[in-house]
Amino acid sequence: MKFIVKYIKDIWGAITSLLKGMRRTLYYFTHHKEIITQQYPDNRDTLNLPERFKGEVVMPHDENNEHRCTGCQACELACPNGTIKVIFKNEINAEGKKKKAIDKLVYHLELCTMCNLCIEACPSDAIKMAQTFEHSVFDRNQLTKILNNPGSKIMEGVE
Amino acid sequence: MTNEELKSLISGVLPSATYEEGTEWLTLNMEPTEWPEVAKKLRSDEQLFFDYLFCLTCVDWKTHLTMVYHLSSTKHRQTIVVKSKLDRNKPEIETVSNIWRTAEFHEREVYEMFGVSFLNHPDLRLLILPDGWEGKNPLRKDFEDPVNMIKL
């Protein structure tokens, strides 16, 4: 007798536990407001990435095509992967003195791990992280970028 | 338990042990030949009862290899480090996988990474490296791999 009571109790417990789960899935089946899918390429315009998002390293330029990079190579040293290479040129400034300035700041996006160490290392805030994330290209060479604009020069007063 | 108390306790059990100074945890040095005896004592002594081997590794000092065992007790909560110098050309040490079963995997890792052969290990073969790996030990300091290692 005890056995039969236990048998029936087992079945009853099993069925109620299963019904609980089914109630939960039925709730979601009927409540479409709970759907959390983001329709990514369609919602590109409304996509808000937080300002700290680490997408790629960029060098901001002002309206006079001037940047803040002194070419101190702190970023190059800080980078664990050799992502950044600074190439120098000699420039003659207003007083006619020779001055070392950056020619190209080469950035290999394909090597970058977005660790943010270069940004932390930069003493003059010349580089920052951009919020772009759609990096795929058809040719790998396009991932090697030159961060300073052509013809740009260093901003006044940045040492 | 402080390191000093532990030291006196271990000295009672293992009178021949030598210690390193200035370390966070009590550090024992011993010869590879004594290791199985020492390990058994450390594990079985009621006062010590080091039943948990939480780290087993090796360091390549270019002149010799050092096996490093980090032991801890789940009963008394004390920790010690045991070190043993091995000959770099023919590194051999007794396995402890019969005392602490976790050593079986860790010793296999050290075996392929440093080339230390563990005597009487039940299943000493490659775990991580691919089959057909030729006798180079990746974590030794003189290891060079021109294809996969890119020097910056």
């Binding site: 099993a14 536990s17 299963l18 609980k20 789960g21 109630r23 939960r24 899935t25 959390i36 990435l49 937080p50 700290r52 998002f53 680490k54 800080a78 980078c79 664990p80 791990t113 977005m114 660790c115 943010n116 160490l117 290392a121 992280m129 | 200035g22 370390t23 966070e24 945890w25 039943d51 948990y52 081997l53 939480f54 780290c55 590794t57 360091v59 390549d60 490093v68 980090h70 789940t74 909560r77 602490w100 079963r101 976790t102 995997f105 860790h106 890792e109 000493l124 073969r125 490659l126 775990l127 991580i128 490296l129 691919p130 089959d131 030729e134 006798g135 990746p138 974590l139 290891f143 020097k151």
Partner: protein
């Protein structure tokens, strides 16, 4: 020099009427490139042999050529589900060597991030566990909550998975102004949803039958095999580093070490479920009490650890992570060893499922919560 593959053994096994199947390196239940060679007799498992190394990147060797600031980002790639905690362990170890104290604000932020990571990691495990057992729906439900945490992380740390947020000396940024509010919102959501987990999975009779009595680990075995984290605690072994060897401010916090005595898959399952609630408890205590002040101590531009050996232990979502740095006084570590929880936990797999069915293997392996990059490093 090395003993070669086990083809000979395989032949011996098949002669006895057994047969060998390869689970992995690509298999839905291994959650990565784990390769298990399983000897079966019918459906009964005779032997399991893990073959590792499919994504071994030799992080330990890599770290030997990276400076103390640089090597931290690599560790995010070990156990990518608790990237914060890995970074934390490395930062702790470097700080131990440098003998710097980090400001209280940074400590609180670190602990908060750790606990949120732990919830996110267990959340993912919960979904994947249910999926291993054939229920697909919980996976998506788990991701709903996990996504909220990822969004919070993204806002403060700038990345969702490999944050590189904890650095020697503190944390990289201060918390985002929205952080506190969003964490509170998340906790509201989470408390509402936690009952659903019980309805959908925990209370389900099929689930319980699949989990109970499967993959039993005795307390002695758990210690001997070096199991840590929920795997050991499911067998009643107290192994929570946060309690035993407290780091940061864990000794000042109120939380319980979750212990279950069953030792089976269900016990390990319950440990993780209850651990999520303990993490919520910790977050609740801290979220309104973040002290003001610096989030970073000033450290030198180039870090140099003194000659010696440093070891730090932290509790990740999977168990004890040990970072062992041998320094020769240079700017790079001489030798670095990561004692990863997954590697030790994996070693007990053979012992715990021998004699079970293939279905048991999946149920038991799921509760080990293996992350393959953590095993392969």
């Amino acid at each position: 020099m090395y003993r070669q593959t086990d083809i000979i053994e395989d032949n011996r096994d098949t002669a006895q009427g057994n047969f060998v199947i390869n689970v992995g390196p690509q298999h839905p239940a291994t959650h990565g490139v784990l390769h298990l060679v399983i000897t079966l007799n019918g459906e009964t498992i005779q032997k399991i042999e893990p073959h590792l190394g499919y994504i071994h990147r030799s992080i330990e060797k890599m770290c030997e050529s990276l400076s103390y600031r640089q090597f931290i980002y690599v560790t995010s790639r070990m156990d990518y589900l608790s990237a914060h905690i890995n970074n934390h362990a490395c930062s702790l170890c470097v700080e131990k060597g440098l003998q710097v104290e980090i400001p209280p604000r940074a400590q609180v932020i670190r602990v908060l991030m750790d606990e949120l990571t732990r919830i996110a990691s267990h959340e993912l495990w919960w979904g994947a566990m249910a999926m291993d057992l054939g229920a697909f729906t919980p996976f998506f439900h788990a991701f709903r909550e996990r996504e909220t945490i990822n969004d919070i992380m993204e806002e403060t740390c700038g990345a969702r998975l490999t944050m590189n947020y904890m650095v020697p000396g503190g944390v990289m940024h201060d918390i985002h102004p929205n952080f506190q509010k969003r964490v509170k919102d998340f906790m509201q959501l989470y408390k509402k949803k936690i009952n659903e987990y019980d309805e959908l999975v925990t209370g389900n009779v099929i689930f319980q039958n699949r989990m109970k009595g499967v993959g039993v680990i005795s307390a002695e075995d758990a210690v001997s095999y070096g199991c840590t984290g929920p795997v050991a605690r499911g067998s009643g072994v107290s192994s929570d580093i946060r309690k035993i060897y407290p780091y940061e401010i864990y000794d000042k916090l109120e939380f319980d070490e979750v212990l279950e005595t069953g030792g089976d898959s269900f016990a390990r399952y319950m440990v993780r479920i209850r651990e999520m609630q303990q993490s919520i408890r910790i977050v609740e205590q801290l979220i309104d009490n973040i002290p003001e002040g610096d989030f970073m101590t000033k450290t030198k531009a180039v870090l140099k650890l003194p000659k010696g050996e440093f070891y730090s232990r932290v509790e990740t979502a999977r168990g004890e992570l040990g970072v062992y740095i041998v320094s020769e006084g240079a700017t790079t570590p001489y030798r670095i060893k990561f004692r990863s929880p997954g590697f030790s936990n994996l070693s007990i797999l053979d012992k715990m499922v021998r004699g079970g069915k293939i279905g048991d293997l999946i149920a038991a392996m799921g509760t080990l919560d293996l992350v393959i990059p953590d095993i392969d490093r």
